[in-house]
Amino acid sequence: MYRYDEYDQAIVDARVAEFKDQVSRRLRNEITEDQFKPLRLMNGLYLQLHAYMLRVAIPYGTLSGTQMRMLAHIARKYDRDYGHFTTRQNIQYNWIKLEQFADLLDDLSKVEMHAFQTSGNCIRNISSDQFAGAAADEIADPRPYAELLRQWSTLHPEFSFLPRKFKIAVIASDTDRAAIQLHDIGLQLRRDATGALGFRVYVGGGMGRTPVIGKVVRDFIPVGQYLSYCEAILRVYNRYGRRDNIYKARIKILVTELGIEEFARQVEAEWAGLAPLGLDAPPAEYERIIAQFGEPDYDRNAPDTLDLSDPDFALWVKQNVAAHKQPGYAIATISLKPRGGIPGDASSAQMDLIADLAERYAHDEIRVTHSQNLVLAHVRKADLYALWTALADADLATPNLDLVSDIIACPGMDYCTLANARSIPIAQKIAAKFEALDTQRDIGELKIKVSGCINGCGHHHAGHIGILGVDKKGEEAYQLLLGGSGAEDTSLAKILGPGFDENGIVDAVDKLIGFYRSARSAPDERFLDTYRRLGPAPFKEAVYG
């Protein structure tokens, strides 16, 4: 894992000191709320329905046990004993007090963490593949490149006041676990014909009010030049992005309006001027960062077999454990979607336990997934049973990864000021409807994603089944969308028909799944593939007919 050097720490310390002073001035009424609000948002502090909400950055979703333990401490000391892991691989706390905020920031900075650039019109937390460094199919670990992007984008003076927020994701395999085509910039590490490493660069993707699938702006940029190329993209966007209309200010609108060819031409022209300036990191800096993401000290003699005689353990392994590139090792996903739970929520006790287990069994690394689960990426197969036993005792071993109850849900109107409707109760009701694991497994992979408003934090446009909360004359209502995917087969879900109330949307999902089970061509044909094969008409008939 990457560890801060003195420059990283100095930047965080200076920014924390600056913001603590701003908080203090606000509490003394020396600055108004209008003056303070943009400052607190730049530091990840929102005012939500019930209290202040703090969003802490988790770069590319990677944490150490020490950092996770600090997140637990913050939940316990400054919040209400829990945190909420988000679709941007961050964590949010819902009950923060401004008068305690200075101490909280000090605590966070002790473990090389902070909250800046988790809000505002800047480059947000860089996201990545939760299986990075462990997946059998990756070209190389993408996180060193994500880390360099983090350093480049942190307090970047030119990009601190962009037309709108800006999200970048980095992966290194053909399997997309980070939804890169739905990001402002998506980077896929690959090799060219000579074997050289570089990135395919997608630009202008996004969800929210105007969902767009990103387009390839450059098929290959050598790794040694991707920073300056990203700088060129940001410069074109910063110059021409629509600042006159917040709803048209994202880069996807600029790319769509210009067309990808013209946008690419402008980026290339900008880059031609930038590339010779030496903005890219020198090779030694790449090597320094890559070295910090070196392979864990694997047990080369670890047995590559598993005793699956315990059927509950076998079920968990089958659903939540993925292949690792190192023989004798596996990747374990910790479900934060237990029966009756709130997607993405973890108590401080659970976070402490996960920190302990990561240190004991997983080379002290934890990953946050954009699906609001956690991952231990390097677990000896020989340790899986002990790990599973400890997780199960803490309600963290639900074997439902990618099944119908593994639902993404934003906080919705239970917490969020922007929401039009509650998301969490909908997720809970759907999960309860399909509670039986046998049923879930029979349905197979099904990604349901629920957003409480058009901003789409619940990724409803990427859901095989997407649900969008809307306001209908002051009442909560829900639109139903089908056919989305955030994976390598990216597609955008489309509205199926008229919306529903809270109970109606659950019944509609029930009907959809019932129809799918009767219409699939084979038991292993996914819901999404049945939908793609048949089109929306029979699904619409099943729901509205």
């Binding site: 009424n29 005012l47 809970q428 002051g474």
Partner: protein, 95 residues
Amino acid sequence: MPRVLTGNRLETGDVLWWNGSDWSPRLSDAVAIGDEGEALLARLIAAERINDPALIDVTGAPGAFIPTTTRERVRASGPSVRADLARGSLSVEAI
């Protein structure tokens, strides 16, 4: 339709309602605001100690006001999915 005044305390973010002379954490303490509402709002905004102060529509009688919007009912209730964190000003069932 009666209106009550609500906002969030600067120091803590706590949800509050105006009881006629001060801020209360209980909706049941809220008083209906009449024509003086806009002036009161302007004064409170100028004082800069309450964030997002707003006059909201409610139904019912003093002591048992119910906000007309789901959003404000959730603010009064607390998160509907965490009974242990209920604010107590309104039952979850009333959302």
